[in-house]
Amino acid sequence: MKKSINLINERVRDGNARVVTADEMPGIVAELGEQETLREVDVVTTGTFGAMCSSGAFFNFGHAEPPIRMERIWLNDVEAYGGLAAVDTYIGATQQSTTREDQYGGAHVIEDFIAGKSVELRAMSRGTDCYPRRTITTDLLLEHLNQAIMCNPRNAYQRYNAAINTTDRVLHTYMGMLLPNSGNITFSGAGVLNPLSNDPKLRMIGCGVPIFLGGAQGMVVGEGTQHSSAGGFGTLMVTGNMKEMSQDYVRAATMQGYGVTLYIGVGIPIPVVDLDVVRSTAVRDEDIAVDLLDYGIPSRNRPAIRKVNYAELRSGIVEVNGEEIRTSSLSSYRKAKDVAETLKSWVEQGRMTLVLPTRPINPESKVKPMHESVHGPRVLDIMDKRVVSIGETEEIRAAAQKLLKGETNHLPVINSNGLLVGIVTTYDISKAVANPGKATLVRDIMKKKVVTTTQDEPVDIAVQKLERHNISAMPVVDRDMHVIAMLTAIDLGKLIGGRWLK
């Protein structure tokens, strides 16, 4: 049995359509069976409400007198794109204010406009024969703009990997605050209510499909950037009229230590035209699995600690290596449900009819990493291979002599097997000499907790380590903890004027 979109829309227009939210579907299918559900249910509404960094809006301000072709543009001190002619611009949600840093950004401009607040436009131009004006400053309300079209390149992620931190310091990430030593887990996404999780093959969700966007009736433009539905990480590009949006569903936010982002509500109605739709919308939180990634590893390829599903994440506790770890959602399930319910009422009242995709989105698409034609410098490229080290059982005096002779301030300390066990600096030696006590051997005064790097580590990561620990050098070790070189602040000078600056 199949049901045509026309039949469904007839019922919608007559106010007779049976509309349910996606979280109700697993129960309905379990109770009625697939066939009966197909007969009974006409539309399933979905919803999600979370941080969607890749969002923004096009504005047209209308022409000033005399007219200006705006080349640099700021809205409440947040820079907007000046490469669109005359009085058009695009403001990105994560762009930060030049005066208030991460406490105000593009997302706040968007929210302030929607909330009815006044926003200051400042713009500059070099002036042309047709656009003589060079500067403009004016206060604007949303109603003063000709168009305010939200257009978000990457929204409504199908699912998102959960985050944990195995290092010994707090991390501030776009996945929120991650406590040290696996102290918590953060996740994002509405699971059972998520639009793309209810149509992973993108049969009903595609170009031109009507959606809920920030409280307005919007539309799917097409596949989103970084769309990777082959691996279960589909995204959508969406658009909607900002003038019809509500602050209830558009909220600026700041992830401490990361920056500004926009929380937005997106919902998509899915017409129940066949059994495949019944099956895909019967998805449960338990069926949607993601990796739990260690954000302590500063790499694109973060290791997965384990697989975890949305039912576990939402329960508040996830077990990792026998330990119970508390979870935090970064997206709001209450708001996601609110979006799905609002969308449901729109369809029930006949305010939104359904449309099949005018063009399909590729369900087999896979995201690629960046092609890098020039690799950034690695520790290997600048490290100093002349290593002067000292044995842990040697006398402090011997260390002092080595430091002098080697013209260095840092001596890695090795044990009888030649492995790194500590480090002494000129400061440690001076201290030992100035305050003579019981210490006579290097191992008595060495620092045992040594910050190290490896030859393959990108210099940017190594520099972060030096800064974080407020040190000026560290040993470069191999897998077995043999010291193969030193990396010092002086070596960083090799980057300047070298081939890395082109």
């Binding site: 700041t254 979870t327 935090s328 970064l330 709001s332 399930y333 209450r334």
Partner: protein
């Protein structure tokens, strides 16, 4: 009742909290303390009825004592009920109810302030400015 006690080393290296426990017999629960070479701050929890005597004794020993009336406060107009605060709180002050709405168990709060950093929406604040 929670009290915020500040003491400086100028007052001598007196074991203020221990002294007050000894003299009053009140069991003081130290919930949070930062003490360095020159000054210290401790958040203590005591039974309401002992507030007056503990406050007086501590003041006599050179400490400044302030009663903290409130724990962390949730601004419901800013909160979107995401839950970012839930797992970062060491005292499990926050929880989501069965409608996925955030609730605050204010009495458990020791005002460490961690949730204020973790909240993406600046929806958490405290009244006792300290």
């Amino acid at each position: 009742m929670k009290l915020l006690v500040n003491f400086s080393r100028k007052a001598g290296q007196k074991p203020i909290i221990a002294q007050v426990v000894k003299e009053t017999g009140v069991l003081i629960n130290v919930e949070r303390a930062i003490i360095d070479s020159s000054e210290g701050e401790a958040l203590i929890d005591i039974p309401d009825e002992s507030c007056k005597i503990v406050k007086e004794k501590m003041a006599n020993l050179g400490a400044t004592v302030r009663v903290l009336e409130h724990g962390i406060i949730l601004d419901e107009t800013e909160c979107v009920d995401c839950g970012a605060c839930v797992s970062v709180c060491p005292h499990e002050v926050f929880y989501l109810d069965d409608q996925w709405v955030i609730h605050v168990r204010e009495g458990r709060c020791v005002l460490c302030g961690r949730c204020m950093d973790a909240c993406p929406h600046h929806a958490l604040y405290h009244k006792d400015d300290f």
